[in-house]
Amino acid sequence: MATTPNAATPADLAWSPRALLRRLRGADEIAHLITFIAAATLLLITVLLVYQLWVLSAEARTKFGWHFFVTRTWDPVAGQFGALPFIYGTLVTSAVALVLAVPLGVGGAIFLAELAPPGLSSSLTFVSDLLAAVPSVIYGLLGVFLLVPVMRTTIQPFLKRTLGFLPLFQGPAYGIGFLTAGIVLAIMIVPFVLSVSREVLLAVPRDQREAALALGATKWESTWKVVVPAARIGIFGSVFLALARALGETMAVTMVIGNNPRISPSLFSPGYSIAAVLANEFSEATGNLYLSALIELGLVLFLLTFVLNGLARLLIVITTARGSGVLPT
C-alpha cells in the first residue's frame, strides 16, 4: 500500500510515525524481524566476546595448555601463570553467597508473596529493589569499614569457639577472606533472588491456591506444597541470575577477599577470585604473556559461568522429569 504511488497521499506520509506504527501493528513480519534482530544481536555479542577472548589469549593458551587450570602459581615476574587459586576462590565465595542468600531470598519472597499484607509486601519489595541498585563499590566499602572489623572481633572468634572443629573455621581471623567476601556477595544478590522469586510466586494462578484450600489444606500447606512447587522453575531461574552476578562481581569482592592466590580449606583464609585479579592487575599489566594470561582468565570465567549454568539447567530437567512439578510452567 505504501509502495503504490498515490497522488492523494503525500509521499512522506508513508514514513510518518503514525503510518509506521500502523504497518507495524498490521504486519507480523516486521515485528518478527525486529525481535529476531534483537535476539540475534545478543547471540552475536556473546560469540564475538568469546572469539575475542579466544584470540587474544592465544599466547597463554599455547604456552600453558591445560596446565593453566591446575597450576597454583601466579608470578608475573617469572611469567608463570595458573588459574587454580582464582577458580577456587570464585567458586568458594559464590557458594558461600548462595548458601546464605537463597534461604533468605526465597523465604522473604514466600512471605511477601503469600503471607504479608499487600501494603507491607509492596513497600518491602521496593526496599529490596533499592538494595539491588546500590553500586558494588559501596558494598565493598561497607564491607571494609563495617563488616571486616565485626568479622575479626566478633563473628570469626565466635565461629572458632563453636564450630572450630571443622576445617572451614580454623586459622587466624584477619576479618577479610572467603567468608567475608561471601557475606558481602550474599547481601548483594539477595534482592535478585527475592524480587524475581516473588514475581514468580505471584504469577501462580489463584485457582491453585483455592483448590488446595478447598481440599482442606492450611494456608501454609497450600503455599509450601502447591504454590512453591509450581513456581519452582522460576525460583531456580532467580538463583541462576544471582549466581551469575556472584561469579562476576569484581569491586566488592576485591575489597574484602584479601587478594592472595591461596587455596585453603578455611573460610577465614584470604583468597582471590577471577574477577578480582582482573580488576587488580589488568591496568598495569605489561608484557604480552602476562596480558594474554589475564585474558585467558576472563575466558575461564566465561567457561565457568557456562558450565554452572548448564549444570543448573540439567538439574531442572532432572527434577521436572521426576514429576514433582505440579504445573507445566
Binding site: 615476574v77 576485591t254 587478594n259 592466590p261 592487575e281 591496568s283
Partner: protein, 341 residues
C-alpha cells in the same frame, strides 16, 4: 527532510569549526598512563592550557601498563609510567621512545602496633625478612635491635601489600630486590609480584584501611597518601647507615644523589642511593615521549611543555606533596629535549 536540514546545519557548523581551529592553531594532544602522578599532571596540563589557550592536553590515568600499551599502539601521542620501559618494550616501538622524569614518588612502611606510638626504625634486612615471611614476630631481634627502648609485642606480623598493579609496589619491590639477593631471586621487582606472604589491599586506601583495622600489621603506602591522610610511618636505614624518615626533602635528596650516575636515557632506579639524607625507597615517574614526530605543531608543543614543566611547573609540586626534581636532573633533561625531532 527535517533530518536532511539538520545534517546540513551540522555540516556547516563542523566546517566553520575546522576553519576556526586551523586559524587558531589549535593543538590537541592525547596522553595516557600512570595514576600516581595524575593529580600533578592534570594540574600542569590545566595551567599550561591557561597559558596557551590553543593547547589542550588530555590525560587518561589508566595505569602505567595501559599507558605503555597505548603508546606502542599509537593511540596516544605520549605516555606516562611509574616504571621505566623495558628493552623489549622499547624494541616494539616504531619510533624511539624517550624517558623524561617529572616528579618523585616514595613508598613508606606504615604499621599498627597497639601500644607503640613512636616512629619505628626499619633496617633493610628487617623489611626484606618480614616481606619474605622469614621474620614473623614483632619482637624479632632484627626489628628490636634497631628500636632500643621500644616495647615490641611477641605477636605475629600481619603483612599488607597492594593487590592492584601499582608504581608503589614497583618502588617497594625494586628496593627489596636491591637490598636482598634472596628477594631478587625469589620474587623480583614489578608492579605486581607473587608475594610470599600477606594480605592484599586495593589501592593506597585499601592498604591503609587494612593496616588501621588489623592489630600488629605492617604495609607500605605511597608517601603522598600517607602525608595527606596523616598516617604514622617508620624510618628506613639508608646505605649510609642513617635512619631517614621520608619527606619531600629526603626524597629529592635521593634523586640528587642518583643524578651523578644518571644514564642518558634516564631509565634509572634511585632506590637505595648513596647520601646521608637520602630516603632509600623512592623513584622517578616518567613521561614517555616519542623521539620522532610527523606533526611539527604537536612536536613543538611537547618540547615547550617539557621546558615549562621542568622550570615553572615544578613550583606546583610541593603544594600537592610531590617531591621536586633536583636541579642536576633538570639540567640534564633540558639537554635531552633537543633529541625530540
Amino acid at each position: 527532510m527535517r533530518i536532511v536540514k539538520l545534517f546540513s546545519v551540522l555540516a556547516v557548523l563542523l566546517l566553520l569549526g575546522t576553519v576556526a581551529i586551523a586559524e587558531g592553531g589549535q593543538v590537541l594532544l592525547n596522553a595516557a598512563g600512570a595514576t600516581f602522578p595524575y593529580p600533578i599532571y592534570s594540574k600542569w596540563f590545566d595551567q599550561y592550557h591557561q597559558l596557551h589557550p590553543n593547547v589542550q592536553i588530555n590525560y587518561q590515568s589508566i595505569g602505567s601498563g595501559g599507558g605503555i600499551r597505548q603508546l606502542l599502539d599509537k593511540t596516544v601521542d605520549f605516555g606516562a609510567s611509574d616504571g621505566p620501559m623495558t628493552d623489549e618494550q622499547l624494541k616494539q616501538a616504531s619510533v624511539p621512545i624517550l624517558h623524561f622524569p617529572t616528579v618523585l614518588g616514595a613508598a613508606i612502611p606504615s604499621y599498627n602496633i597497639p601500644g607503640v606510638q613512636t616512629d619505628l626504625n626499619f633496617t633493610p634486612d628487617a623489611l626484606a625478612g618480614i616481606f619474605l615471611g622469614k621474620i614473623t614476630k614483632w619482637n624479632d631481634p632484627a626489628i628490636a635491635s634497631a628500636n632500643p627502648g621500644v616495647k615490641l609485642p611477641g605477636d605475629d606480623i600481619v603483612v599488607v601489600h597492594r593487590s592492584d598493579g601499582s608504581g608503589t609496589s614497583y618502588i617497594w619491590t625494586d628496593y627489596l630486590s636491591k637490598v636482598s639477593p634472596e628477594w631478587q631471586q625469589k620474587v623480583g621487582k614489578a608492579t605486581s609480584v607473587n608475594w610470599p606472604v600477606g594480605l592484599g589491599g586495593k589501592g593506597n586506601e585499601g592498604v591503609s584501611a587494612l593496616i588501621q583495622q588489623t592489630p600488629d600489621s605492617l604495609g607500605y603506602i605511597e608517601l603522598i597518601y600517607a602525608i595527606q591522610n596523616h598516617l604514622p610511618y617508620g624510618k628506613v636505614k639508608n646505605s649510609s647507615g642513617t635512619f631517614v624518615k621520608a619527606d619531600l626533602a629526603s626524597v629529592s635528596a635521593a634523586a640528587a644523589a642518583a643524578a651523578k650516575s644518571m644514564p642518558d636515557d634516564f631509565r634509572v632506579s634511585i632506590t637505595n642511593p648513596e647520601g646521608k639524607g637520602a630516603y632509600p625507597i623512592s623513584s622517578f615517574t616518567w613521561l614517555l615521549i616519542p623521539a620522532k614526530w610527523t606533526d611539527t605543531a604537536k612536536r613543538d608543543v611537547v618540547k615547550d611543555f617539557l621546558k615549562w614543566m621542568m622550570t615553572d611547573g615544578q613550583q606546583s609540586c610541593e603544594a600537592l606533596s610531590y617531591a621536586k626534581l633536583p636541579k642536576e636532573v633538570v639540567a640534564k633533561e633540558m639537554k635531552a629535549i633537543s633529541k625530540i625531532e
